[in-house]
């Protein structure tokens, strides 16, 4: 609901809010410039002295105004010719033209009405209303994503467009709410919907009928500092019944031109004061610094527009149309989808198509539509559940748990849950786990145990599909590629062989950089920009499902390098480990920003086993700035599995690697990488307590062992891996 409220106003009003924000940002500069360039008034100067000085220079002066920036303008007639100038209050003489700034006028008219009069004003007000709706709904989404309002500034993970969108939003939202609310107030005021009209005192019935009382002796003007002045209008020359009209920050009054006495006065009304404050907050006139800040925040709007559209497009691409969807009452398999951005729907469509091709009747629907009483012919329910933020239900699964808890389990229906998530989040697949726990508690029969898909991994999904096929007694080949990326052909330039001793061939494969077209170099797409820790998806011959490998090199290294071990029966690993220099593979680049070393100077603790050394070695090789790096590396056999063993002494000599601790699992003294960590428990705890970042790469079992070891090691200093994960200081690349 909130997401819909955010998406559609955003897309519909995109052009409008972009014009509003860009023109608003440009306009925000003017009050500051005026503030700086306006001749300043010395403190203590009274209106009496000021206007007396001006009248001495311009005897025909008719009106004097002071803008909120402090700029004083005088208007006069000299022998019938109108004149106007910005006044230096020290001398009373004009120092600059008072003509309206044409650029300011143009921008103002664009900003408030698109040059279209009242229709334009209403259109722009609608734009401001859209901005307000976007800001408020966006704030709720940010809070939900971060896991609560208190985590407003929590570090972000996920795709770049989404992170940028939130990164800008959580700073700019304050300014946008302020600017849009004040805009709506000002529009209401312009269209007379607010009782904030100026109150003026009644014209005095009796005046002295005299003229010529000296300005510099008028008591009221003597008591009014220039800082409070807004406007002083002079009586018509020769009209003894006319009066001086004085407007100050406090109100409006009339002064007798014969006696100088204040003959009438009206204070500003409360509404006027509120409206003036709102005008100041919106325009920055009288609050130039605030205006500049709001202008800067407004500049975030076009950026959020672009990233917002990218997020929306990515979500749309991932949500295919499902052909031949059966009604829930007639399907034997019910697929329930819990998706936030839409990518899980793509997996559901693939599963639906495969099961339908196998002759099953399948219904796909959102988890929020869970209604077991309607599933008359169902034999199984398969739940595909993403997780939103800190374990919350994703958009299309709202209310699922309540419905499940409120309904009785159907005895004939088995249930399976597949979680979708990102392992770099601390609450990985937390919602899917909650669904599984609820189903168990209610007594639903289990078709398959809970399984998870990390970062939309096609391999994970295909593996789970095979298991599902076994459970159903049908062959099930799930080839799902969420977003089909542009592939390149990579040519092998060299290979180094490992694994001879353990009967498991492995190799460091180095490919030449593919030729990147100009547009890729300009936009940084594809192989034009990558770094160690990013992934390449290799499409093995004879399969549509790509296999992901972590990169051990960055673009700067001038080559594409991966570490591969041959798995028994593994299609991709078999083909890769058989490559000879000159051979080619088809591959694409997938960014993995959650597993980059980053630029900082904080020490890194790199933990890896086997081929998981790849990205870690890439970080070390790229560490020209000699950031402290401690490597814990586990291998099977010291003679044949020590990937990058030749380079490590050089890296240490060059200061790229502070320390390398190795563990060998097949030798005289069996030891795993988590044992090596425990052996250095004191130093590891010290490093982490002082801010070090932990990066783990390797198999799942090793990652779990490392988490357990670190839990023990960190307990004495009052930290846990979960806390570090939440801070973005504990990241994993696990396969």
């Amino acid at each position: 609901m909130i997401r819909t409220l955010h998406r559609w106003p955003g897309l519909l009003a995109l052009a409008l809010v972009t014009i509003l924000s860009l023109s608003g940002a440009a306009l925000s500069v003017f009050p500051a410039v005026e503030r700086i360039t306006a001749p300043q008034v010395e403190t203590g100067l009274t209106v009496a002295t000021l206007v007396d000085g001006i009248q001495a220079v311009y005897p025909g002066v008719e009106q004097i105004r002071r803008s909120p920036s402090g700029r004083i303008t005088a208007y006069w007639f000299d022998q019938g010719a109108p004149g106007a100038a910005v006044i230096d209050p020290a001398t009373g003489a004009g120092v600059a033209s008072a003509d309206p700034n044409q650029a300011l006028r143009w921008l103002t008219n664009l900003h408030r009405s698109l040059f279209l009069g009242d229709g334009g004003r209403i259109t722009m007000a609608a734009g401001a209303a859209a901005m307000l709706v976007l800001s408020l709904s966006g704030a709720v989404l940010v809070a939900r994503r971060a896991g609560g309002w208190r985590n407003w500034f929590a570090p972000l993970r996920g795709p770049l467009a989404g992170r940028l969108h939130v990164e800008i939003a959580r700073i700019a939202v304050i300014g946008l709410v302020l600017s849009s609310t004040t805009a709506l107030w000002m529009t209401a005021s312009t269209f007379d919907l607010l009782p904030d009209g100026g109150a003026i005192p009644a014209m005095p019935t009796e005046v002295s009928g005299e003229t010529g009382f000296p300005l510099d002796q008028m008591a009221t003007l003597l008591q009014t500092p220039v800082a409070e002045l807004r406007e002083l209008s002079f009586p018509y020359p020769g009209d003894a019944t006319d009066v001086f009209t004085l407007k100050t920050d406090r109100g409006t009054g009339y002064l007798d031109q014969g006696t100088g006495a204040l003959v009438a006065w009206a204070d500003l009304t409360g509404w006027e004061r509120v409206s003036e404050t709102i005008y100041m907050l919106h325009t920055g006139q009288g609050a130039a610094t605030l205006g500049l800040v709001l202008g800067m925040m407004a500049l975030g709007v076009p950026a959020m527009g672009v990233t917002g559209v990218l997020i929306w497009l990515a979500g749309r691409r991932g949500r295919p149309r499902i052909r031949g969807n059966q009604p829930a009452g007639r399907a034997e398999t019910i697929l329930l989808v819990g998706s936030e951005g839409g990518s899980t729907w793509g997996f559901a469509a693939t599963l639906h198509a495969a099961l339908t091709a196998a002759g099953r009747s399948v219904h796909v629907g959102p988890m929020s539509g869970f209604a077991p009483e309607r599933y008359a012919r169902a034999e199984r329910i398969i739940v595909l559940a993403a997780t939103y933020g800190d374990g919350a239900a994703p958009a299309s699964a709202k209310g699922f748990l309540d419905r499940m808890n409120a309904s009785a389990p159907a005895p004939d229906i088995q249930m399976a849950v597949l979680g979708f998530g990102d392992r770099s989040f601390p609450a990985y697949c937390a919602f899917a786990k909650a669904v599984t726990a609820a189903a168990q508690a209610k007594g639903w029969a289990e078709l398959m145990p809970l399984d998870t898909i990390d970062r939309q991994s096609p391999q994970d999904f295909a593996r789970w599909g095979r298991a599902l096929g076994e459970a159903l007694g049908i062959p099930l080949d799930l080839a799902h590629q969420p977003v089909l990326p542009r592939t390149e052909t990579l040519t092998l330039v060299s290979r180094r062989n490992y694994g001879a001793e353990t009967q498991a061939a492995a190799a460091i494969l180095r490919f030449a950089l593919p030729r990147t077209p100009l547009w890729q170099r300009l936009t940084g797409a594809g192989f034009a920009r990558f770094q160690a820790g990013d992934l390449i998806g290799v499409l093995p011959k004879g399969s549509a499902v790509p296999r992901l490998y972590s990169l051990a090199s960055g673009r700067r290294d001038g080559f594409v390098e991966i570490v591969v071990r041959k798995h028994p029966g593994g299609l991709a690993s078999g083909q890769l480990t058989a490559l000879e220099p000159g051979d080619t593979v088809t591959a694409f680049l997938r960014r993995n920003p959650g597993f980059h070393a980053g630029r900082g100077r904080t020490p890194l603790i790199l933990i890896g086993a086997g081929t998981g050394i790849g990205p870690l070695a890439g970080f070390i090789r790229g560490n020209a700035r000699q950031r402290p790096i401690h490597l814990f590396f586990g291998m099977r056999h010291a003679d044949s599995d020590f990937f990058y063993g030749e380079e490590m002494p050089d890296w240490q000599a060059e200061g790229r690697l502070t320390r390398a601790i190795t563990a060998v699992s097949r030798g005289a003294r069996r030891s795993y990488v988590q044992d090596a960590l425990r052996g250095e428990a004191g130093q590891v705890a010290d490093l982490i307590r002082n801010g070090a970042r932990v990066m783990v790469c390797g198999g799942r079992d090793m990652a779990m062992g490392v988490t357990d070891a670190l839990t023990e090691i960190l307990a004495p200093v009052g930290l846990t891996p979960a806390v570090l994960k939440a801070e973005g200081r504990y990241v994993e690349d696990v396969y």
Binding site: E62, D118, D192, G197, I200, S233, T241, T245
Partner: protein, 156 residues
Amino acid sequence: MKSLLATLALTTALTLPGLAMARPVTLTTTLNNYGGDGAYLALYVTDASGAYVGSLWMAGDKSKYYEHLSDWYRATGGDTAQVNGITGASVGAGRSLEITLDLADALFDAGYTLHIDAAVEDMRDSPNEVAVPLTSDGAGTPVTGRRYIANFSYDM
């Protein structure tokens, strides 16, 4: 005279459509190129003693800006009922405003004065921009305003 004024007071716009005692009068106001946004203009009539009698036209539809037409505003207390039904758009620099009204015969040659107050955003307020006596002889004679009005005339 008294009864006529009573009639005038009843019709605040001073116009008596369809009555024999009225005649169509065309008021033409041409603005100079003062280099600002559209001007607000208040056209109104005062009697021989200078007292406000009624309004003829208001160019500019946002009443929050009427206070800048300061003589008109002071005379009417900013009462928008004075210009109900006789309000139009503001007039751009260099543009003309032409309005035709049925004006009471009694307004002419009887000491009445037609005033125009003008104001432009971020520029000078110009109350009493034009003050021209309503006389049969003066019809068709253009007068120049103080700041914004290049010429103004009324034709019968």
